[in-house]
């Protein structure tokens, strides 16, 4: 079982957290508005359905091809990064990753770390670990800066502060940023953030970033962003530490253009992001800026478990565009925080069980209508609904030897499986079916009026007083 990050909220609370959002018309409206906005922007980027389909097929084959040779590519990446002067570290768990990063910080006597947006650093709870070690870890993506200032976590992997209104942000800045008066003018708010963070970029000892794609053949780390904070973090401080999951590798540079196009168009509906940053080495002799040290931390944290199974491996195709969230009727209604995990929405439901174990996440796979929207929009064609069915199977079936996942059978219940076994038996035997429906039609009035969760939003189930076969018989 992987160690759970401190912020992980137990699955038991999922229902209550969801209900709290669903009951809040204001929040629901703002999620709805934000998701509609992102969906229409994405749609506008893909006017040609045929092109989109062929590009998705290409994206899928690029991801599958590269995952197919992942161990070799990791070794090639490591060799080329090392040749380029970038130091490579490996971490199996979040704790190991934090220890590696903090070691680098300690060696430089670092006090201030500026962070570009990195979901993997959220995954390992780096900010807490840094704080405990006396290092200030400051988020510099505007959305992340806002949620950090509010003492919260991102609620979306692309738009971290999507759950906040500008008035809330205005109040937050007025309360927390020194010398700032209330203003809900967005340009003014961004200027406030810019000014605070510019000073930090100037002072920081360490810059930390995520990685969107790592290119094995050239030893290059690629970053996609709009704000420039990713560039700041990777250029201004004397040390740059990048962290990524082990799956984000492509063999060839030529694999990047299709994936980048799918990523930016699916994520925010842009035909390209403002910046695409390709880092291949630390500052070279004669160069006047850029960090003198660059590190890459490769994190497993359950990914190798997904990798081991042919079907579950598809989870690792993800390029973290967030489109599945934007199109998910469940995410749209409950928002990202309800999930309690670093990655929310459909991708969160299929990746988190590998990171946190099924004991902690078994309810997530059931919180889906299986409408298929996530699978339809996924730019790399991850069959998310199929994976959700698989995870339900893993969670709810009786524990067995050699399971594919940690926590297999965690949601297994003897009573429920006996009920289903009985159900199956009834439907398999015409005679038994006859008896049961006969009893049902006679004693249907005995059905309780409250039938657990079913009746929380529906009328009670009651067998009809007459069976179909009786009605047919009466008709002759």
């Amino acid at each position: 079982m992987n160690a759970q990050p401190i912020h992980f909220k137990p699955a038991e609370g999922f229902r209550a957290r969801s209900k709290a959002v669903v009951d809040n018309p204001f929040l629901r409206q703002s999620f709805r508005g934000a998701m509609d906005f992102l969906m229409s922007k994405r749609a506008a980027q893909f006017p040609d359905a045929e092109e989109l389909e062929s590009l998705r097929t290409l994206g899928e084959s690029i991801r599958q091809y590269n995952l197919g040779k992942l161990p070799t590519l990791l070794e090639q990446l490591e060799a080329n990064l090392t040749r380029n002067g970038i130091q490579v570290h490996w971490a199996e768990t979040p704790d190991e990753a934090n220890a590696i990063i903090l070691d680098i910080c300690h060696a430089r006597r670092a006090r201030l770390m500026v962070k570009g947006k990195s979901m993997v650093s959220e995954e390992i709870e780096l900010n807490h670990a840094a704080e405990a070690a006396g290092i200030d870890a400051l988020e510099s993506d505007m959305g992340e800066y806002i949620v950090q200032l509010a003492g919260e976590k991102p609620s979306h992997i692309i738009m971290p502060a999507i759950h906040k209104t500008k008035q809330e942000i205005a109040q937050l800045f007025a309360d927390k940023v020194e010398g700032v008066d209330y203003t809900d003018n967005v340009d003014a708010l961004i200027q406030i953030g810019r000014n605070v963070l510019r000073q930090k970029f100037l002072e920081a000892d360490i810059g930390l970033s995520g990685v969107n794609f790592a290119v094995a053949e050239t030893g290059t780390l690629c970053l996609v962003e709009n704000e420039g904070n990713g560039r700041m973090c990777t250029t201004a401080p004397p040390v740059h530490i990048a962290i990524t999951g082990i799956e984000k590798i492509v063999e060839k540079l030529e694999h990047i253009p299709p994936l980048l196009s799918l990523l930016t168009r699916s994520a925010t509906g842009q035909n390209i992001s403002t910046y695409f940053n390709m880092i291949s080495s630390p500052r070279k002799a004669g160069e006047k800026d850029g960090p003198s040290e660059v590190h890459l931390v490769l994190l497993d944290n359950g990914r190798s478990q997904a990798y081991a199974d042919e079907q579950l491996r598809k989870t690792l195709q993800c390029i973290r565009c967030g489109a599945c969230m934007n199109h998910c009727p469940v995410y749209t209604r409950i928002g990202g925080h309800a999930y309690g995990t670093t990655y929310p929405g459909p991708i969160g439901k299929i990746i988190s069980p590998h990171m946190l174990g099924l004991e902690a996440t078994s309810t997530m796979a059931t919180a889906s209508s299986l409408c298929g929207a996530c699978g339809e929009v996924c730019p790399v064609k991850i069959p998310i609904p199929d994976l959700l069915m698989r995870l339900r199977e893993e969670a709810f079936s009786a524990p067995h030897a050699n399971p594919a996942m940690v926590g297999q059978g965690a949601a297994y219940s003897g009573v429920i499986s006996a009920i289903w076994a009985g159900w199956a038996a009834v439907y398999r035997s015409p005679a038994l079916y006859g008896v049961v429906t006969w009893l049902g039609s006679r004693f249907g009035w005995l059905m309780p009026s409250r039938q657990g969760p079913w009746t929380s939003v529906r009328v009670p189930l009651k067998p009809a007083p007459k069976r179909l076969r009786d009605m047919l018989r009466e008709r002759g």
Partner: protein, 221 residues
């Protein structure tokens, strides 16, 4: 065993499942338009302007004049230039005579970081090439024209030779043989810095330049 060996051992123990190599070239040959010079320049301009950049077409001999006009219009009196480049030299020769101070990036950043962050209103760099389909500049920072030049100053002015516009990102990397020659930090830039993190409202100048000005050198009129 180290974490590295354990991770690799787990991955290697998994079924191999090799997949055919994707044919990226074939996709681009059938799904992306190929255009000629003028069309590429027009498309590049369309998209980078959509992304809020300011574009001026200039002649090979007239760009300095336009540069002065741009600086004038924005009330900028100080420009960061790279002195060991041809365009940097040209700016150094010309601008101070017109009352514009030229700062050169001649020291390592540690020596003047605070000044760079607080007292450098604009910079001039060259683009190596550009991409028509997305309105993207390709920058290839080096010892002469360091990385922060295109990031820290609030106004970034870029000189682009319109004959170096490719149709696609893929075409650019293939034609230039990037796999052999990537610099410390290659960059694609498609507009000034921006964010929509507050209530999906677009705002420019999040952390990088608030304004991006492209001087696109076309054929001599």
């Amino acid at each position: 065993m180290s974490a590295r060996d354990r991770i690799l051992a787990k991955l290697k123990a998994a079924p191999l499942l090799p997949k055919p190599e994707p044919d990226v070239a074939a996709w681009f040959s059938t799904h992306r338009r190929t255009e000629f010079k003028a069309e590429k320049a027009a498309r590049f301009r369309h998209f980078i302007e959509l992304a809020h950049a300011e574009v001026h077409t200039v002649s090979r001999s007239g760009w300095l004049q336009k540069l002065r006009e741009v600086l004038d219009a924005k009330g900028i009196e100080k420009l960061l230039v790279a002195d060991s480049t041809a365009h940097g030299e040209a700016a150094l020769d010309e601008l101070p005579r017109h009352g514009i101070e030229c700062q050169t990036y001649d020291l390592a950043i540690e020596a003047w970081k605070t000044e760079m962050f607080h007292a450098t209103p604009a910079s001039l760099t060259a683009a190596r090439a550009a991409i028509a389909e997305t309105g993207t500049l390709i920058l290839w920072p080096d010892a002469a024209e360091p990385r922060l030049m295109s990031l820290v100053p609030p106004v970034h002015i870029v000189l682009l030779d319109a004959s170096k516009i490719y149709n696609t990102f893929y075409e650019a990397m293939q034609s230039e043989g990037w796999t052999q020659s990537l610099p410390t930090n290659a960059l694609l830039i498609s507009g000034p810095s921006k964010t929509a993190d507050i209530q999906q409202t677009l705002a420019y100048g999040a952390h990088g330049p608030k304004e991006l000005v492209v001087l696109m050198i076309g054929d001599e009129q």
